[in-house]
Amino acid sequence: MNWLDYLDPMLQGAWITVQLTAYSTVFGALLAFAAGTGRLSRHWPIKAIAVAYIEIFRGTSLLVQMFWLFYALPLIGQALGFDARLPPMVAGVIALSANIGAYGAEVVRGAIQAVPRPQYEAALALNFTPRQTLWRITLPQALPEMMPAFGNLAIQNLKDTALVSLITIADLALVTERIRNLTQDSATVYTLALLMYFGMALVLAALMKLLAARVGGWRAR
């Protein structure tokens, strides 16, 4: 038994980690935009929902949220007479994306607020509708501002996926534990796991960089 034998099961676990990261980063980004723009809404119910969402998910532990969705929600469902057993992957993706979405919402809000006021005044003077202002004035300037922070959040999200090993998902962290349990070869197993997470983070950072170049490309012109 040497480290080459660890690779196959660990790569299978890493693939689960990649899927979790992909889903939760995409859903998290959608939530971030919804809550970030919702927070700036003139309609108070939308604003209230956005603020409540952001504060609740930022202010409670991700680990506890996962346990709650996985072990507590089904009990509440039983008491109320419906089946609330989310599949493990669904519970994991919901908790991860809701969390990263709450952090991302503040990034979105900050970037939108950083667009200079005269830009909005000019849009108003030119008779842009609110929707046109959002798509043609606000977002093209705000998006490039968001990208460095989003890059951070995406990598944070990748590393947070390790927590899903506690709700029975066989991701890289769980497979690492399993192999260590079998071999007690902690040094090799954990070093390999670190390198795999690092490799995934490098790829993710590169992807975010490409995306940043894409949304900020108009500035170079």
Partner: protein
């Protein structure tokens, strides 16, 4: 893109989510439902030799191998093995995440109030993992009650906690570890002076770690005038009565075979352990004080 699209997509997503929530009825799966599904969800806690997953994700150990044989006799051959922390086993059963726990969990009265147990599958005694050479001369669980300079590690959710409490070991001399696999590191690094676990777990860990050993002159802890012995069994959701009854009947048959003896002996259980597994009933153990 047409303006209605996001709204329609949102509506579809909400409908889908509600659909997921509402499809199946609540509570534990009945035997019929399990048969219909064709797959049994069995949880293990990664503790060698009681139940663990090997490299390829196949479940090994006394619990899983007996469970697989018994389920096969019931005509259920497809098993979905789920590995989780020991302290998540009972919550997972209650939330209907698994149909069955095959971790040779000891039958204890406080656990009987939460979940239902099959009849005992195995019986085992206690052990103690110490640093190689046993520099502190630890001989048993009672030492931690008497000597202030010692600390003992236990796994979160394991019944050694109750044993140590019964012997009067104060909380600050106990170190909680998350998983069995942390024990060697905890003891060899000196974070704890010993790891309290079952005899077979300790034997396996002592075998794997070079800087640890099983306490050489270990004395079984005596609680209420009797040396401690545990009876490991399969655990079920408290509502899964027909599945448990069918499993119990098949288990009783299987325990009469040489195949059953071979599985337990392969993992280090002695003849005395095998005989002892018939000595108590689940009702007796659940009613014990």
């Amino acid at each position: 893109m047409h303006d209605d699209n996001p709204r329609r997509a949102l509506r579809a997503a909400v409908a889908l989510l509600l659909g997921v929530l509402l499809i199946a009825p609540a509570g534990a799966a009945s035997l019929d439902e399990i048969r219909q599904r064709g797959t049994v969800r069995v949880a293990v806690a990664n503790e060698i030799p009681y139940g663990f997953l090997d490299f390829s994700g196949n479940a090994k150990g006394v619990g899983p191998e007996v469970a697989a044989a018994v389920l096969k006799r019931m005509g259920l051959e497809r098993i979905d093995w789920i590995a989780t922390g020991f302290s998540s086993l009972i919550p997972g059963l209650k939330a209907d995440r698994f149909d069955l726990v095959a971790a040779e969990m000891a039958i204890l009265p406080q656990r009987c109030r939460e979940v239902d147990f099959s009849s005992p599958n195995s019986s085992y005694g206690e052990g103690l993992l110490v640093a190689a050479g046993n520099p502190k001369g630890i001989r048993g669980y009672a030492d931690f009650a008497e000597r202030e300079d010692l600390t003992v590690a236990i796994m979160a959710g394991a019944d050694q906690l109750e044993m140590l409490q019964a012997l009067g070991v104060p909380q600050q001399r106990m170190v909680m570890i998350d998983a069995n696999a942390d024990a060697i590191a905890a003891v060899s690094s000196g974070r704890a002076d010993a790891y309290a676990a079952t005899g077979l777990t300790v034997a396996d860990l002592a075998d794997k770690g070079r800087r640890v050993e099983a306490a050489p002159e270990f004395e079984d802890p005596v609680i209420n005038g009797e040396p401690v012995r545990s009876w490991g069994a399969f655990a079920f959701n408290a509502d899964a009565d027909d599945f448990r009854a069918a499993f119990d009947a098949a288990l009783a048959e299987f325990k009469q075979t040489d195949e059953w003896r071979a599985i337990l002996e392969r993992y280090g259980f002695s003849d005395a352990d095998l005989d002892a597994s018939f000595a108590r009933s689940t009702e007796e153990l659940c009613a014990a004080e």
